[in-house]
Structures are given as C-alpha cells and as structure tokens.
C-alpha cells in the first residue's frame, strides 16, 4: 500500500498545546475555581516521631470563615490507609507521626488566609519517640521502629510476593548468579568502595494541587496527577466506592518528573471535602511539596572483579534506599536500583541486594530514571577504575564486555533490544573522545567520561485508547496519558494522524477524565509513546479499516486497490473520497462517527516486573569537565547523550526530553541535595536553599543525538525516552572528574566536597 505525501510520523511537528500555553490560557489545576470552593490548609507535624496525645481543633473551628477541620477522628467509618505498594499510610496521622511535616489535621475555609490562620489555632500535643532519621540509625540494633506492624500490600506494587518486614526494612530485592567468591579469588583486579547518593527533589514548577468535590455519593477530583487511573483505584478503595463513583480529571500538569506519580494529595483533599460538604482545594507550597515526595537518598557498597585482559568476572552490590516514613514507590525504586547495579555487561557472577528502608523523614517516591540514577554512576566509575588499573582504554573495556542485542540482561526478563556499543561510541565521539586532551590552565584540570546503563522501562503494559472520527473528518484521540510537558498529546495525535493520513490540524487529544477516557495504567517509566501510543495506533487502525470498507463499497473498488491519501482514500482510477465524505456515506447523513478501540495488554506472560520490562531504556552519556584545584568548582563543558528510541515519532520532542534530562542530571550530579537535620527536619525546603539548574548552568555544548534502529515494541518501531540521560549524565560527569584525577564516591559534587577530596588525595 503506497502512501502519498509525508506522514506526520517522524516529523518535528509543532506542539499542539504550544499556542494555548504561550497565551497563558492552558488550564492547570490551580487555575480552576469551582462555585463554593473552599481552600484547604494542612497542620504539619513539627516533630519526626511521636505519639499524638491530643489534637484540639475547637479554636480553629470557631475561626471566621472556617467550614471544617479534619483529624483522624473523622475517618473512623473507613479503612484510612493507602499506598499502592504498601498500604502503610493513613490519610492523616493516626495515633502517631512519623516525619516532620506529616499532615495531622486539615482546615477548609472560605479563603486561604482564613484556613492558614485557623491551622495556627489547632493545639496538638505530642509525646516524642526516639528517631531514626537516617538509614544508618534505622538499621542500627535496637533502632526505633518507624512502623510497628507490617503493612498490607497495596493494589499496584507489581513485585510478586512481598517478603516479611525486617525491622525498618520494608522491602528487599536481590539476585545472584554464578560464584562471586570464585570470581573475586580469580580476579587480577578488584575495585571496591562505599558510596552516598543524596535525597533530591523532583522540583516540578507546579506544586501538587488537588480539588475534591463530593456530589450524591460520588467524588470528583481535579488533580495534578500522572497516574489518574491508579489514583481512582486508591480513592475508591479508601472510601469504599465503586470505581465509577470516583472521577479523576487531569488538567495540564506543570511538570511531573515522577513527583506526581501514584497517589499524593488526593486522599487528604477528598477527606476534607467529604467533611466540608463543599469543594475544597489544596494547593501545596513548595515546602509542602518537598515533603510530599522526593528521590531516595542511598548508601551503597560495591565490589567489581576483573581479569587481567579486562574481562569482567563478578560484581557484588549492597544498596540501602531511604524511603522515608512511608513506602510510596520505594519497593519499585529499590528493585530498579538493584537491576541497575550490574550495568549492561556479561557477568559470570553477580550478587546484588537492595533494601528499602523506613526512616523518620519525608517519603520518597519516583523521580525520573529512579534506581538507574542511583547506581549507574557507581557501577560505571568502578568500570573506569578497572580500566585505569589494568591500563586499558575505557571505551575498549566497554566494547569488550557490553551485552549485544538479543543477549540476556536478567534471568527470565526481556533480552537486550538496543545497540549499546554503537550508542556509547557515539556519546564518546560527541564529547571529543578522539581529540587530543585540551590544555588546561595550570590550576585547572580537564577530564572526559562516558557511561552506559539500562533502565527497565514501560511499567505494566496495559493501556487502552479510543479514536473517534466525526462527519467533518475531525479526529479525537481518547487516551489516559497525562500531558505534563513531554508532548504526549502531540505525539499521540501524530500517531493517529499517521495511521489515518489525517491532517495534523484535524487531530486532537485532550486531558484525561476517567469517566470517559479509556484506562491507561500510568504516565511514567517512559511508557506513553510505546505502550499508550501502541493502543492509539491500534485504535486508529480500526478506524482506517472502517474507512477502507466504506470506500470499497461506495467506490465499488476492491479494497486492495484503494490507498490512503492525505485526508481521504483514493482508488486506482484516481477517484478520491475525503474522510468527511466517507463518514457521511457510512451513516447516510451528516452525523455519526467512526470509533476505533485499541488495547495493549501483556503478551505471552503476566506483564510482571520479573518478566519485563516492556523495553530496556538506554542510559548513555558522555561528559567533559574542568575542575578548579583551588576551589573545587566543577564546570561541565560538554555533554552528549543518545536517545535510543527505535523510531522518533517527533525528533524535536525527543531532543527536548534529553536536553531536559541532561540538565536535571547535571543538577543531581553537581549541587542538588536535600539536607535533613538529625532531628528529621528538612533544612532547605525552598528555592532559597535548594538550587535547581538555571540558564547559566548549561554546558557550552550539549549534544543530544537520536539512534533510530526500529527495534522498539511501540508504534512504528518506537520505544520510550526521556529518562535515560538523567541516569547517564551524572555517571559521565563523575567519570570525567575521575579522569581529571579526582575520583568521588559521594554526590553531589559540591565545590567543598570536591575541594576536600583534592586535599585528601594531595593533588597539586
């Protein structure tokens, strides 16, 4: 079947939501005003671990404008625990508080000012308990238990049978292969070290915002959420409602990066709105969002054994992830971290354990490229050190040991589906790998590094989509992917337009409303283009089938002689019927619509984490840095990444994903760090103390290239992107700094930390 004219698939078409956003007219949750809407304010615990003795809300309730005050006493008619992995979190603190900032009560009032004032009038008394504010204290003998009882598994952990709790360890992931004891005995070189990765904040510019409104036993939530269908499920279970009595509407998101994945402020907002009997909005301040979710801090030990010729023999890794007071997505983050420990190499022997640890700090969840970002810089810095000690080229040792397409990555899982050698060679080339070392100033040194890794991507492969074509030829894509800035609505429209040969301006995708939008598991794990996009492709193909059948009947032509052309179908004789004419012909009047449904579900398995992933996302980067020996300041001069996407539906948007991930990687590597005091208090909870990259932080050269090998399981051979660079860039920077003579085992690479290391190593 020949096709005339360019398909929008593979074209850098302009963003569909661009004009709306440029005009300030894109609606975010915080822009919505419902009639009678109240404003919520949260009373946060001032202490990290305590029994709640009393919460006196009488004065707050008497405050002008206050409509309702919610405490755990208001939840006695429901099972008030939620958590998609572990149902360990009460809607508001129940009996005890477990971190500084935990919601203890919520006020709903006519104005935000009245709500804030009323919160200050709530008198809560606490009986403080010993604190486990870090992984170290939480794992100590006789450590205080953050949770006395093992929580029930949540509905969407997807990790098989969860083991019993062990002290403050809420989940462990491990795998072994071969004989590591023998590997380390046979090794010509062993590299080992202890490493620290800081807690960091996703920092989407829009904070978590939710509005809840109960009507007739149903609840509607407008929420800045990435996974509306999983939120719907958790709210339904919490309040004992059928799924269809919970409606989640998702406006535009002002960034997500994982911070708005799973369930966040929705239970609290639904609970206070239920009590108030009116719509209530909770709009987090930044300091509130920073204690709503963050990236896991981590400590890890790793050992790598290699033979004299550079052949990798074995690796051991132990990692402890600080999940904070509630598990959130910690178990999955922990498993993904474990999977990232070996790196994509051929290993005769492996011994990996990753543990998810409760502490009395704010909860940790998903942040772009979780797990891989935690481990790749460690794994790759050990590989570089092996090469250095053996006098081998750092690219050669990768070429020698990297997995090739089709090779097993982990037992029982999907084999490798990417050309890693090609990708890492390209990343190296783009930071000038083959160029002679640049001369540095006397007190400055330069170095280059590369890194390569894999991220288990796609999450659970369940997505539905519907494509509608109206009698004017306009096309609507209904799918549950959340537009959070990545351009999903544009890409989904391109996929449908590509199948239907409909002009882009005729195709639109809008936000999710779970009452009407078909199910999609989630927007995360780089899955939308691959999994949801495949559902859209299949739905559009159904509509196309209908168009062809109609054309065959109306043009009295054999279907095999019909060909789709832009906006219509043409027969061999050159007669064309437009989409509008075909839909009208189908129904005999100016009405009706063609409907296509697409479904993606696990094929040949359960879709479980063990059998996955849907695809392996490639995490490849190169970096060139300069370090000032007198100040410890690290300047990133060049970065390169390779988006190994199978097929770029919209190359420009792919590049934007990698640029954004590169800069987040730079921030994670160089300066982003949440500081918790020993008493569990977050010390830098605004942009005054927590810095994210700005215009002047970008490298002089940032090269984001795209590899298109058509090897993805998604539509047109596509696979996802947008996370890998975040895992790969910090690793490349760490390796470049080691190449300049300053190996580091602690992130971020702040000037002070690097300066101390320079002194310690007596570099001059």
């Amino acid at each position: 079947m020949s096709v005339i004219g360019p398909s929008p698939v593979g074209q850098s078409v302009e963003r569909a939501d661009g004009p709306l956003k440029l005009a300030g007219q894109a609606e975010f949750t915080g822009d919505i005003r419902l009639p009678g809407m109240l404003h919520g304010a949260v009373l946060h615990s001032p202490v990290a671990h305590a029994r709640i003795c009393s919460v006196d809300t009488a004065a707050a309730e008497r405050q002008d404008g206050v409509v309702a005050v919610l405490t755990s006493d208001d939840l006695s008619d429901i099972d008030p625990f939620y958590g998609h992995a572990l149902r360990d979190r009460p809607v508001v603190a129940l009996g005890k508080v477990r971190f500084v900032g935990e919601p203890v009560a919520v006020v709903a009032a006519e104005t935000q000012a009245a709500a804030d004032a009323a919160v200050a009038l709530i008198d809560a008394e606490y009986d403080e308990l010993p604190i486990a504010a870090s992984v170290g204290t939480a794992l100590a003998e006789d450590a205080p238990l953050v949770h006395e009882k093992r929580a029930r598994p949540g509905a969407a952990h997807g990790l098989g049978d969860l083991p019993d709790a062990d002290g403050n360890i809420c989940y462990s992931y491990s795998f072994r292969r071969g004989d590591t004891g023998q590997a380390f005995e046979d090794a010509a070189v062993i590299v080992e070290g202890e490493y620290t990765f800081p807690a960091v904040y996703q920092y989407s510019m829009e904070t978590h915002t939710t509005i809840a409104h109960w009507t007739g036993g149903e609840v509607t939530l407008w929420s800045s959420c990435q996974h509306p269908f999983l939120v719907r499920q958790e709210i339904a279970v919490l309040f004992g409602l059928p799924l269809d009595r919970v409606r989640i509407i998702v406006p535009f998101l002002g960034g997500g990066f994982g911070s708005k994945s799973y369930t966040k402020m929705e239970p609290l907002t639904a609970a206070i709105a239920r009590k108030a009997g009116r719509p209530v909005r909770i709009l987090n301040a930044v300091h509130e969002s920073m204690i709503t979710t963050r990236r896991h801090g981590m400590t890890a030990r790793m050992r790598t054994a290699a033979a004299a010729d550079g052949t990798l023999l074995g690796r051991e890794c132990r990692a402890w992830m600080d999940t904070g007071a509630y598990a959130d997505n910690g178990p999955r983050v922990t498993a993904t971290a474990g999977d990232a420990a070996p790196g994509p190499y051929r290993w005769p022997a492996l011994d990996v354990e990753a543990h998810c640890v409760y502490t009395n700090t704010s909860p940790s969840g998903s942040y772009r490229a979780f797990g891989a970002t935690h481990l790749q810089w460690i794994a790759e810095s050990q590989l570089d050190e092996v090469a250095r000690r053996l006098g081998l080229d750092r690219l050669d040792i990768r070429r020698q040991n990297l997995l090739r397409p089709g090779e097993e990555v982990r037992p029982g899982g999907k084999p490798l589906d990417a050309d890693l050698v090609g990708d890492v060679e390209r990343a190296a080339f783009n930071v000038g790998w083959s160029e002679p070392p640049t001369r540095s100033f006397p007190r400055k040194r330069r170095g280059r590094g590369v890194s390569v890794g894999l991220l288990a991507a796609g999450a659970h492969p369940v997505s539905m989509a519907t494509v509608r074509m109206g009698p004017d030829g306009s096309v609507t894509v209904l799918g549950g992917t959340t537009e959070m800035g990545q351009g999903a609505r544009t890409v989904m429209a391109q996929i449908a337009a590509g199948v239907l040969r409909a002009p882009m301006e005729k195709v639109v995708m809008r936000g999710t409303d779970t009452r009407f939008t078909p199910y999609d598991r989630s927007t995360g794990a780089s899955r939308s283009t691959t999994v949801a996009g495949l559902a859209v492709q299949r739905a559009a193909q159904e509509v196309m089938k209908d168009l062809l059948e109609t054309a065959a009947a109306k043009l009295e032509a054999p279907p095999q002689l019909l060909e789709p052309v832009e906006g219509g179908i043409r027969d061999a004789g050159g007669r064309t019927m437009t989409h509008a004419e075909l839909v009208r012909a189908r129904f005999g009047f100016d009405g009706g619509e063609l409907l296509g449904h697409g479904r993606v579900q696990p094929e040949g398995g359960s879709g479980s984490y063990a059998e996955g992933p849907v695809f392996w996302e490639v995490c490849v980067a190169g970096a060139e840095i300069e370090v000032d020996l007198d100040t410890g300041v690290v300047t990133v001069l060049r970065t390169s990444t390779v988006a190994d996407v199978g097929k770029a539906i919209n190359p420009q948007l792919v590049t934007r994903q990698d640029e954004g991930a590169t800069l987040q990687g730079l921030g994670n590597a160089l300066f982003e760090e949440m500081h918790f005091a020993p008493d569990g208090m977050l010390l830098n909870d605004t942009l005054l103390g927590y810095r994210i990259p700005a215009f002047r932080d970008i490298p002089a050269t940032m090269t984001c290239s795209i590899a298109e090998n058509g090897d993805g399981p998604g539509p047109f051979g596509a696979k996802g992107c947008g996370e890998g660079a975040l895992a790969a860039v910090p690793a490349a920077i760490v390796n470049a700094l080691a190449d300049a003579g300053v190996p580091m085992n602690e992130l971020p690479l702040t000037p002070e930390r690097v300066w101390r290391r320079i002194r310690e190593l007596k570099i001059s």
Partner: protein
C-alpha cells in the same frame, strides 16, 4: 485594612480597594481572574510569576498589590495580540521551547523587558539576563535558541 489602588492593568484602567497585605500575584489571579500568571516558589527566585510593572519585570509573589497604585501592569493576557507576542510565539513554537508551559508567561514577560532595554541576541548575555527565570523541563537550550532569535530581530 485596605488601600485604594488606581492602576492601568493590561491597558485598561483599574480602581478599587485592595487589602493592604494582598500580594500582586493573588490580586491578579484571584481578584481579576488573570490566571495566566502562575504561582510557584513564592520566594522571588524562580521567575514563574513575573509580570511587568511600568515595564520592569517583578516577581508578583513578593510584590504588594497596593504598590501598583499609579503604575502600569502587564501580564501575559495583556501581551497576547502584540507584535512581540506574535514573534515570540513563532520562535518558541519553532524551537519547541514550550513544554509544560508553567514558566512560559514569565519567560515571555522578562524577554519583553529585555528587548525594551535593547538587549540583543548575544547568547551569553541572554543567558545571564534570563538566569532568574527557571525552567525544569527544557534544559534551556531551546529557550535560548528562541530568545536569541527573538531578541536578534530588532
């Protein structure tokens, strides 16, 4: 306590009593319904809530509404329809410099102030001048490409 405010907002006269402690951000969003200006850091760092007061970019999260008395305020709603907005939109769309869109209005208003001050298309100068407008999506490359193109056009 309230204060009488007479100002020009997006070219139209405004007169009214405003609570003395009300922030310009809340005044614009809640009182006037101009929700194109977004709330983010609330500490005058991120630039998301930037509006122009007498042509100068200010963080409306840390500026009292009462202080616009006798001044001209321009928000994204006022910018729309202007030649500058048309040219800026073209550049931003061409470089796909709009992602989540939360920082976009602030970026455009700061850029307009820079253009009015005669800042040209020097990349390093643009980056330095825009350093107070944060974006977490783009990696800034596409924004710089757009802004350099836009500011170079005069």
């Amino acid at each position: 306590m309230t204060e009488m405010v007479r100002a020009t907002i997006n070219g139209k006269p405004y007169a009214g009593e405003v609570p003395a402690q009300e922030l310009l951000l809340d005044f614009l969003r809640d009182r006037l319904g101009l929700t194109g200006t977004k709330q983010s850091c609330e500490v005058q760092v991120c630039g998301v809530c930037t509006v122009l007061v007498d042509g100068d970019p200010v963080s409306s999260c840390c500026y009292l509404a009462a202080d616009i008395d006798g001044r001209e305020v321009e928000t994204i709603e006022g910018l729309v329809g202007s030649d500058f907005h048309r040219r800026a939109s073209k550049a931003f769309l061409r470089h796909a410099a709009v992602q989540c869109g939360f920082c976009t209005a602030g970026m455009l208003l700061t850029a307009k102030a820079l253009a009015a001050r005669g800042l040209g298309g020097d990349r390093a100068e643009v980056a330095a001048a825009m350093n107070g407008n944060l974006c977490r999506c783009t990696g800034y490359v596409s924004l710089l490409d757009s802004l350099v193109e836009l500011l170079d056009q005069r």
